[in-house]
């Protein structure tokens, strides 16, 4: 007689490749997202090897020339190769995205966890501060912070991170309020677990899922914010090949018909954001323990 549990683990772990194949077939959309992100990371890492020109290299003879066999994405105002700069740009934008999200998430989630776990009065204080921050339109606030700190890569990341802290705080607090009420949380108290263990081992693992989803979506916004801030001059300085800066450099050229200067970096931004959004959508299902 079989003790027929509802799900049985296979006796041996199936081969990785077969599992990956099943994954792709079961989650086509998310897989595309992962593929895009993977491609971008590869580009960022391999840029010096695959870029035909240096990011600062100027070719005075072909200023503002359209896409051609020698310059795949054309050249800009000073003869710089757009294609190479887009490739190098991946480094900056991915870095900004990851760093801003990581900092914002860590800070926001810590505050949210504390607010949710300890409840009033700590909860009230933290959440009202979060409310104050989110009372500003995010971009305006980022502008303010970046403007106050001065334009640089580091300050750009800090500005974007800070602006997004309330999002994570609120999510984390909400998650905590829910898991706090669960019977397994009560059971943890019942077996004699101290508060830190309950927070770390019982509650936190059950709160991650919505955070991860939000984080991947925020990644896209972070890139957009960076692009926007750089566009108005509050982010990275001009020669640096960051996609947002590149778009801003090419704006005047659009009117005179040299569309490629802004288009390709803009396209890169769009693809990156889409990649992260696609992953974000599928991530929640993936993280559910019931799917193991």
């Amino acid at each position: 007689m079989s003790a027929a549990a509802l799900d049985t683990r296979p006796a041996l772990a199936p081969r990785r490749l077969a599992r990956a194949g099943r994954f792709v077939r079961a989650n086509p959309v998310t897989s595309v997202g992962f593929a895009i992100i993977g491609l971008l990371i590869a580009i960022a890492l391999l840029a010096p090897l695959i870029a035909p020109y240096g990011s600062d290299q100027l070719d005075a003879s072909s200023v503002l020339s359209p896409p051609s066999s020698t310059h795949l994405f054309g050249t800009g105002t000073y003869g710089e190769d757009i294609f190479s700069r887009v490739l190098y740009g991946a480094r900056y934008d991915l870095l900004i995205g990851f760093a801003a999200v990581a900092i914002g998430l860590t800070l926001g989630c810590s505050l949210g966890a504390i607010a949710g776990f300890f409840a009033d009065p700590v909860d009230e204080i933290i959440m009202r501060v979060m409310d104050m921050i989110s009372a500003f339109p995010a971009f305006v606030l980022a502008m303010g912070i970046a403007g106050a700190l001065g334009p640089s890569l580091r300050n750009l990341i800090v500005a974007i991170a800070l602006v997004n802290v309330p999002v994570y705080a609120r999510l984390m607090r909400g998650s905590f309020l829910v898991v706090k009420r669960s019977q397994y949380a009560t059971a943890a108290v019942g077996v004699g677990a101290p508060p830190w263990r309950i927070l770390r081992w019982h509650l936190l693992p059950n709160t991650w899922s919505p955070i991860f989803v939000q984080a991947t979506l925020q990644f896209g916004y972070a890139i957009l914010d960076a692009a926007g801030l750089s566009f108005i001059g509050l982010g990275i300085r001009v020669p640096t090949p960051e996609w947002g800066v590149m778009v801003s450099l090419g704006i005047e050229q659009v009117i005179t018909g040299q569309w490629w200067v802004s288009f390709f970096p803009g396209l890169a931004i769009a693809i990156a954001v889409m990649g992260f959004n696609l992953v974000g959508d599928g991530l929640r299902d993936l993280l559910d323990p019931r799917r193991s």
Binding site: A3, A5, L6, D7, T8, R9, S182, Q183, Y184, T186, A187, A188, V189, G190, V191, G192, A193, P194, R197, W201, H202, P205, N206, P289, R290, S292
Partner: protein
């Protein structure tokens, strides 16, 4: 004193705020004084709003009692500071109503059952796995279940895990809060048999919270019937179920569906719905609904009084009118 668990005048009140200025008190449990002897089972019986779950939680200090004392083996549980309380928890454990929700979905059931062992250091690390296998076998599971996640087990298996977890630190007292209500009938029967066997083999002491009088009949030695936060009757299972001394107990018994289509039973109709637990009166809470209520009942404070050896009731009329355990009032 051989009582393993004793509560004295346990009371739990939730302050509520209605509107900006008015504050009222929701009395979830009031004047609950019960005892459980070592190796025996006391059932707390009642419907929703009776306070039975609240009492169970207060005894374990999962909720803080507003007043009253809880003593485990003569030692006070109320009044312990957090660190002392955590150590005390080793001696008193709980089995929860919803088996799936009481198990953390992110960890294997083995990890969850091992947690009390690790927290209280009762078993050296190297032997935890062996201890787990013993515990799982004791509740009718096998070693192959140890590394499963909760959702991979059936409801009955999940509840067995819950029981294993409660028994892991070898507690003196186990509080079971409706442990079979969420289970199928045949699985319920398996769990009830398991609990009876475990009690017989290991001399465990149970506080069994339930609304199901039939299950209580099988597993409890003594019964406390609760209504709106108060214990209205207290006695041995046999006496309370066969010769109840309170109209509410009689109504509960009358409401149990028959075992067989040919049976009939006493019909007691209690009018209306339970009254509010907010700011309750001093006199018997059942008055608005009781088919036997007299004007006297709203004038006298109701106390739990022992009317026969080991049998107590709050019913004022019973206290005054019974003759050697018999009371046959007209409606």
């Amino acid at each position: 004193m051989s009582a393993l668990l004793e509560t004295r005048a346990l009371r739990k009140v939730f302050p509520l705020r209605l509107g900006l200025t008015s504050r009222v008190s929701l009395v979830a449990a009031d004047d609950v004084s019960v005892e459980i002897e070592r190796g025996r089972t006391l059932a707390l019986v009642g419907e929703s709003g009776s306070g039975k779950t609240t009492v169970g939680r207060c005894i374990l200090r999962l909720d803080e009692p507003t007043a009253g004392e809880v003593l485990l083996d003569g030692e006070p549980v109320t009044g312990l500071r957090p660190a002392q309380l955590r150590r005390m928890r080793r001696e008193m454990q709980m089995v929860f109503q919803d088996p799936l929700d009481s198990l953390n979905p992110r960890h294997s059931v083995g990890e969850l059952v091992a947690e009390p062992l690790m927290l209280h250091g009762t078993v050296p690390r190297a032997q935890i796995r062996a201890e787990l296998e013993d515990l799982f076998r004791m509740v009718g599971l096998g070693p192959q279940h140890i590394d499963r996640l909760p959702h991979q087990l059936s409801g009955g298996q999940q509840q067995r895990v819950g029981i294993a977890r409660a028994l892991a630190p070898r507690p003196k007292l186990v509080v079971l809060d409706e442990p079979t209500s969420a289970l199928d009938v045949s699985v319920q029967a398996q769990i009830i048999n398991l609990l009876r066997d475990l009690q017989a083999e290991r001399g465990l002491t149970f506080l069994f919270i339930s609304h199901d009088l039939a299950v209580v009949n099988l597993i409890a030695h003594r019964v406390a019937v609760m209504y709106l936060g108060q214990v209205v009757e207290l006695g041995t299972t046999e006496v309370v179920l066969e010769r109840p001394a309170h109209p509410y107990t009689r109504a509960l018994l009358a409401a149990v569906p028959v075992d067989h289509p040919g049976q009939t039973r006493e019909r007691i109709v209690m009018r209306g719905e339970p009254t509010s637990p907010i700011d309750p009166p001093d006199y018997c809470h059942l008055v608005p609904r009781c088919p036997f209520a007299l004007p006297l009942c709203s004038e006298v404070a109701s106390e739990l009084v022992e009317v026969l050896p080991g049998h107590a009731t709050r019913c004022v009329r019973y206290q005054r009118e019974h003759v050697n355990g018999s009371w046959a009032p007209e409606r």
